[in-house]
Amino acid sequence: MNEAELMQENQNRSQLLNKQNAEFYGNIVVYLRMRGKLKNNVQMETDLLDLLNDLLDAQANGQSAADYFGTAPAGVAKEMLQALPNDWHKIRRVALTGAGFYALLLCLPSLIIPSEPVDIGKLLIGLVGIGIFILALSWGLSRIVFAKHQWLAAGIIIVLCGGAGALIPMSFVSLNTPLKLTLSNPVAFIVIGACLLAAAFQFYVDRQKFRFLPIAVTFLFVEVILGILGILVRVPMTATWLNQDNHVLYFLIGDVMLIWLIPSAWMIWNLIQGIKANRNRQN
């Protein structure tokens, strides 16, 4: 089975755990997935599924997850993480292709004003910022699951990550480096086409990770809209219309509403379904 199939199987079988055991197992899952970014994902998901099957056996024999696994899951989860091998091939692949893809995708917003040159230095700084933010967010989420005061830990992480999440785009917009490149229209069309292909490929990869589907859809929407806008502002007929009476602004506001509403509603729907499913679990 590949990673996505293992995650799906894990999701399906974890429905069989009772509420208390599901919470116990869920903490281990979140910890390993958040901290195991550089580990072999297939092996990690295999070991998690194996542990889940054992917890289900223990549950069937009248043992709670804590009775079976022990009352110090944090320490054991840490040891499990250390026992998982680092996946250097994956680290290289993620670093190279990830950087390549996100560089292309970050490029799109800077292509919606044809007269402005593309700031390559700004894109590189943005890439580093995104990388650090993703690692910090994963580390923060993994700290919550075994924290003594989970709500307090969650609050601190949300404030810190939310602050950083707001600060990065704000500083990104106001950033200005001398490393700039002016693109002619044909080159800009090729770059936009490459960006859209990269976005489509990224979506194809992310859609298998069903938990992140709404985020993947949002990402695709943003890239497609910026790509379309990048093309329209370079075609003389549509460019004239867009430059009249703030049409660009209406175009962006209308699309942002769509981008915000559809995936947000989808995520809220998923959240409600999750809460309902959890409420219906046996104690």
């Binding site: 223990a58 079976y68 040891e79």
Partner: protein, 114 residues
């Protein structure tokens, strides 16, 4: 629940015990913990078995494969590799030596009390 001292002692020998059990018949997590229970390791928190099995696999002492289990989904069956069998023999030799030494000292204590 086992005392902390017992847990520390157990940690050292558990790897050897697992190599012996798995060399007799390959097995998966839950079944291994049940076998350990049969041999009196009831106080060992079973969570400690998982990182140990994973570490032994990482070190090349164990290999694993997914197989159909008797009652339920496919399970990850562990069995010793050649390196694992060598480690098992080394453990048996060292354990016998340790047992002889410790028994001699314990006997000394018992003779003093008599």
């Amino acid at each position: 629940m086992a005392s902390n001292e017992t847990s520390q002692m157990l940690k050292g020998v558990l790897q050897g015990c697992l190599l012996i059990l798995l060399d007799q018949s390959p097995s998966y997590g839950y079944a291994i913990t049940q076998r350990l229970d049969d041999f009196g390791f009831t106080d060992v928190p079973k969570g400690t078995i998982y990182p140990l099995l994973m570490t032994m696999e990482k070190k090349g002492l164990l290999k694993s494969e997914f197989r159909e289990s008797a009652d339920g989904p496919k399970r990850k069956y562990y069995s010793p590799t050649t390196a694992g069998q060598t480690a098992k023999h080394k453990f048996l030799t060292e354990w016998q030596q340790l047992e002889t030494n410790v028994t001699s000292i314990v006997n000394l204590e018992e003779h003093d009390h008599e």
